[in-house]
Symmetry: C2
Subunit: 400 residues, 2 copies
């Protein structure tokens, strides 16, 4: 008998029909003799509706009260899913985050899970109950409700799988797996049977938006085998696991990220400490910098160019204008980052140059380049992004 | 410094404007130097909307899951009220039933409060926080969410007032106090300054619908002084307290209850055990019987007539037809119970006959009569009910 953790997002439980669809997937898994723990998010737009209600009353409400408010969303969805499972005739119990043992720190709205105390979960499984757990939430040392922030339900599912030593953690989403590129943009994109944690991490960071990064990091740390699959099609998804266990593909995917802006500081003094001064002030304001490029100095000055998430552009510009009186700050919002990711890169030369060749053939100009052991990213004009993804994908995955 | 518990119902927090109205009442009380604990219900139609969602999925869902679902309603309203209080610039913390220490038994959907563990409440008041508590909910010995059933938030407020030895428990509602009759039906009805627990209990049972009975019973048991008042008008309400402390009025009010049906069983055997047989079967199905009238036997048979709440009529008829083969069961749904309540009755003769005289003068036929130490009830045709209330009210409270 296996223990399987299944996670379903808000769109999967948006209405009664979809709740029953989820209930059937869960009970089919249970019928095969498995223990099943199900993690669900709030229904459809519930969280957004609650945020609207809060903003109408007090846009500066404390995060503690915001978490109290938002945690009600999952409470509704776990109860409804449990009712649907009862209707199908199976034993079930729903548990809130605190009931399922989720102990977090006190960073309201972005809490970190400290541990999952599994007594209640184990007791319910011993009673042969299907256990439906509210994702995204926990309780801190004061006994107050906390929420885990973006992608929190994925993290909840992986945390349970890790704490309970589950055999598998299935993340149900609206795509049926991880593709070599976005299938809506690249018709020849193919689904991967398997991908390593590191590749998945790079893809998630790069905007593939299939799995939340925190959950992949946690899965890697505790060796939880993930499967990304669709709640609408009954086909195997993509397995995310240790790289050593699978054949290394040259590259596993091409990803695009348009949530990016480029900033250049022109003519800063070419002296020690300039970069430190610049980036420490940005990091003090929690602005994460991605690609950094520094020109060779000229006339006692140099230029520093870097990228930030688009949402931080305004804040970053304000800091830069305060920090450098004499320098000129220019920026470009119409950019995109296109990346290839693959564990095979480490052992195969020429992967980067193959990517650059594809972009040259498509007459796409490269503004910046950044590389890691398993990733090559380029910054290009945003209007060229989809064309770039297709050109690179065709180079690495030629059509049959 | 006093400790004041204030309770606001669902209509009082139905939208952002009303939430702020409540926030102002609460903070005005706090500004006067009082400790304040506020108990709120779910917003407006939230509970009904959640019940609709549940029924769409599974009308026979377990009560445990129903309680899990419904408890989310108060979670939303306490967070929003706390946010409004923050906006007005006051320190506040919201607490769910389990956080506020509400320990209940495990009768889901109709749980009884076993005790309120006040550590957290006291700690928050020591920090000079206004404490906003979710009414209607608690947690049982298994750590599962329970709800208290009808009027549960009133009971929550009184339970906190009792456990914390509060100086006063104010129940805010949509009327500004307890009246000698329904002011919408009887223009000459006047507001009472004070009423005893027992009178309030009779009035609540009789359909005055101002305060839930369980809360009045609990207030009486723990000598919690209640005040019924309006959240919309800034005037003193009606105090509910021990009778000994106030001047006894002859009668304190006239109440009407149309949620009633009359059933007659004609021709049951005139032998010992008949009534027991009949009423024990009804009580086994949790059907409460109100007024009972038994005719003198004739031809070896007798007739038993009684009233039940209208909602139980169908179930009661089914049981009766199963129980008595030979007897004839007839019923009347078009009836109403009109009652007068007053602690002064015990010491004043002629109260009942004054009521009967008023009904005779109005040419209203009395079908059944029931009396207690502080109450006289009559069953009449439903179409006569409002006219009866006015006639009786005029007899006891003549217009000036």
């Amino acid at each position: 008998m296996s223990l399987i953790v299944q996670k379903f997002g808000g769109t999967s439980v948006a209405n009664a029909e979809r709740v029953f669809n989820v209930a059937r997937i869960v009970t089919d898994t249970y019928k095969k003799g498995n223990d099943v723990v199900v993690v669900v998010s709030a229904q459809g737009d519930t969280t957004d509706d609650l945020i609207d209600k809060a903003n109408e009353i007090n846009p500066n409400a404390s995060r503690r009260e915001m978490d109290m408010l938002l945690a009600s969303g999952e409470q509704i969805s776990i109860a409804l899913l449990a009712m649907a499972i009862q209707k199908l005739g199976f034993p079930v119990v729903s548990l809130l985050g605190w009931q399922a043992g989720f102990k977090t720190n006190s960073t309201y709205s972005a809490a970190r899970i400290k541990r999952v105390e599994t007594d209640r979960l184990k007791a319910e499984l011993d009673k042969h109950n299907i256990v439906v757990v509210a994702g995204f939430q926990g309780v801190n040392q004061y006994g107050d409700m906390t929420t885990l922030g973006r992608g929190g339900s994925d993290t909840s599912a992986v945390a349970i799988a890790a704490a309970m030593k589950a055999d598998k953690c299935q993340i149900y989403t609206d795509v049926d797996g991880v593709y070599t590129a976005d299938p809506r943009k690249v018709p020849t994109a193919t689904k991967l049977d398997a991908i390593s944690y590191d590749e998945m991490l790079e893809l998630a960071t790069l905007g593939a938006q299939v799995l939340n990064n925190r959950s992949v990091e946690m899965a890697k740390k505790y060796s939880v085998e993930l499967e990304v699959l669709s709640s609408l099609t009954n086909v195997p998804g993509t397995i995310v696991k240790e790289a050593t266990r699978m054949e290394k593909m040259l590259i596993s995917g091409v990803a695009k990220d348009t949530n990016v802006a480029r900033i250049s500081v022109i003519g800063v003094p070419d002296e020690p400490g300039t970069a430190f001064k610049l980036f420490s002030r940005l990091s003090a304001k929690d602005i994460n910098v991605d690609i950094i490029l520094q020109s060779v100095g000229r006339d006692g000055t140099k230029d520093i160019t870097f990228t930030v998430a688009a949402g931080y552009l305004k804040d970053a510009l304000a800091i830069l204008n305060d920090t450098f009186d004499s320098a000129q700050v220019i920026y470009d919002e119409d950019v995109a980052k296109v990346s290839i990711v693959g564990a095979g890169m480490e052992t195969h030369a020429g992967v980067a140059s193959k990517m650059f060749e594809a972009l040259y053939s498509a007459q796409i100009n490269i503004q910046m380049i950044a590389t890691s052991e398993i990733k090559v990213s380029v910054l290009i004009a945003r209007e060229d992004a989809d064309r770039a993804v297709r050109a690179i994908h065709n180079a690495f995955f030629p059509e049959n």
